[in-house]
Amino acid sequence: MVESGDKVREDFFSEAQEIVETLSRNLLKLDDAHRTKRSDPGLVNEAFRAVHTLKGLSSLFGAQTMGNVAHHLEDILDDLRLGRVPLDDRVVDVLFRAVEVFNELLASEKSASPPPSQAVEALLARIRQIGAPEGPVAATGPIEYDLDVGMLAVLTEYEEHRLRTNIEQGNRLYRLRVRFDLVTIDKALEEIKESAKKFGEIITYLPTGDAGSADTIELDLLMASMADVPTLNRELGAENVIVEEIPRIGGAAIKAETAEAAERIVNAEVLEQGMSLVPNAQRELVSGRDKDTVSLRSVSQTVRVDIRRLDHLMNIVGELAIVRGTLAKVSERVRGEGQRSLAMELQRLHRTFERRLAEMQAGILEVRMVPLGQVFERLARVVRQISREVHKEIRLVITGSETEIDKLIVEELSDPLMHMIRNAIDHGIEVADKRAQVGKPPIGTIALNAFQKGNHVMLEVEDDGRGIDETAVLDRAIRLGKVSPEEARELTRLEVLSLIFLPGVSTRDSVDDLGGRGVGMDVVKNNISKLGGVIDVHSETGIGTKIAITLPITLAIVSALLMRASDQTFALPLSSVSEAIPFDGSVVRNIDGHSVMSLRGTTLPICRLDEMFGLERTTGIPRRQFAVVASLGARRLGLVVDQLVGEQDIVIKPLGRSLRDVRGFAGATELGDERVGLVLDAAAIIEEVLAGTESALRGARLGYG
């Protein structure tokens, strides 16, 4: 404890006295304001601060009674300023009485005479009567302002309360950006405070941290005011003061300033317009919206993250994965050299490392995950718009919008999904009359379903329209030369339907009663497979069509098989690998120009990676190679490589735009040592080798099995 010398005690008394006097003056003003029904939150706050300081002082200098009274008074004032207790006559009386008691206490301390205990007790009793507010202040509905999360994070509890109160009162929010000269900052600050007070309340002052120069400071003033922008600009604007309104988001009447804001407003419309949504779907959309609607409180608990930072973190995790692999190898070597106990320790370390790494990976991935509802909501709008255009009544049923998937995938999904829905509306759902003729309800239904299945997310787009016309598809395919009439006869239903994924087949040049062309399903399929997904189509004539998409949950880290061909290392995601078998040239047979080999009684088409990619060889073809069987759905292809390096977790990085025409690669990955390996795109490679008219057919006979 600080030594209580005389000088120190004198210090205490004089400061305490000063505070009590300030408090007294302040209370007079407060009383005045209260009686004339004006409210000045600043006064309550000043009173609070005064008593708070007094409390601190008292405990420092051992003035216990005083400290105790100050403590209880502080609580009341806190309740007052946070709005938990209203300012009424009773409270004002107690406050004045408190000032009197403080003076008595100070006098008694100074003259070392007994403290006025009775007076103190009486005061405390009255204070206790005031306390205990009714309960939490009723929370108002969600308030949406385009407030910087960073700004909210540095508000003290009191400032946040002031902000909320102002918003509830319907005041507008402004940000005043002010630049002060360090030399004159005090004066300039006082000036702006005085001027601003006339128009509203300044909630807080935030240094922007923008080091314009060494002798100026820039601050953002968060201000609430009833005045409008032109007024504030006129009165407060200056060369070093910039007034900016913080726009409100949400509520149909307010102008939306951002695209996000616009989307939220539209969602409200979607719900209102009674799209005859099935209750299930309605709940889905509402919950999607609620997730977007943010109250002041929850905003402060979330952080906006730039996905590039997450990518950076994922990179690091990827590199740690490489380290882990090396650790495993080292531990093996140590064991091999007979150092058993050391090896066991290393093993244990490795296992722990692996577990923690997996946890961290999962944690970061979680941050990247966003609910599909985001995309679904946009689609709902599209549906409404298009159905109006084509004069068809459509209802959209959505399930599983809370299903989560990697943010990057979500961003790439909206286009393909939009195409499919467009197709469903344009060419799938019939006009009301036609539907009535075949006994269907006049309102067409399109269903969007999403659900998680293991490591994948399944997305289905279903409609109850006329289904895909196989004859038309076949005709088109034949006319475009994708398939010959003879081959056409031998195709199964599934194969015919799959023809729509060939370029040109699913677009229509002719103008039918719906007008417009469909969008190529080949484009959609391409987009999906770039994401590492697969697309399947099912259809029944007259009943409807269902398109099913399987997507990996995340693009980020995948387990891959590393292999070498012609001195180059390639990676193939394990999800596309069914097995790897020893290979040598003798097992190869040639059927109609295609290389195949026998695998447990079935025929496996093969492809030499070095030939496919035109890789140069510095040495001859090794006698013993490997065939890595890449599989996608029911199709398989054996990729012949020189060497298998091993399994590794990799982070797939997409190739830049400059390389977008290069087919066959899903991206590239770091191999450690700053070396880079290309990641094979199994779907594209299988497609390339097994596609083409005759090959497609042969593929049908050969690859399936």
Partner: protein, 129 residues
């Protein structure tokens, strides 16, 4: 020579803290304590050199302690200076926020001079290790 920035708007509180910190000269050697009377004042002192420790109150008018912590953590020069918060018993949430923004430790009023001294030594020590 160690430099400490002390930010506190209550004069006697400031004096108390200053006295406690000055006592550390025996332990830490030459000490310069720079006093700022408000968050603003601190903004004026920060560009004038480096500090080995910042002790600041949270609840100050205008520029509050939280804003000061954030400002310091975003400043290239002062980014890693240890920050000790002075907070009241009731404002746990403000305290948590301060820690979340990057402050290193906190003291709850009322505290003894020894507490402040111990925390200061610890934080200065941590930073230089």
């Amino acid at each position: 020579m160690l430099r400490i920035l002390l930010v506190e708007d209550s004069p006697s509180m400031r004096r108390f803290a200053r006295t406690a910190l000055e006592d550390l000269k025996k332990q830490l050697g030459e000490l310069e304590i720079v006093e700022a009377t408000s968050g603003f004042d601190a903004l004026r002192w920060l560009p004038r050199g480096r500090y080995d420790l910042v002790v600041t109150d949270i609840n100050m008018p205008d520029v509050n302690g939280l804003e000061l912590v954030r400002f310091i953590r975003q400043s290239p020069v002062h980014r890693s200076v240890p920050i000790v918060l002075i907070s009241t018993q009731s404002s746990e949430r403000d305290r948590e926020r301060g820690l979340g923004l990057g402050a290193n430790a906190y003291l709850v009023k009322p505290f003894a001079a020894e507490d402040l001294q111990r925390t200061a030594v610890q934080q200065i020590g941590n930073a230089s290790s």
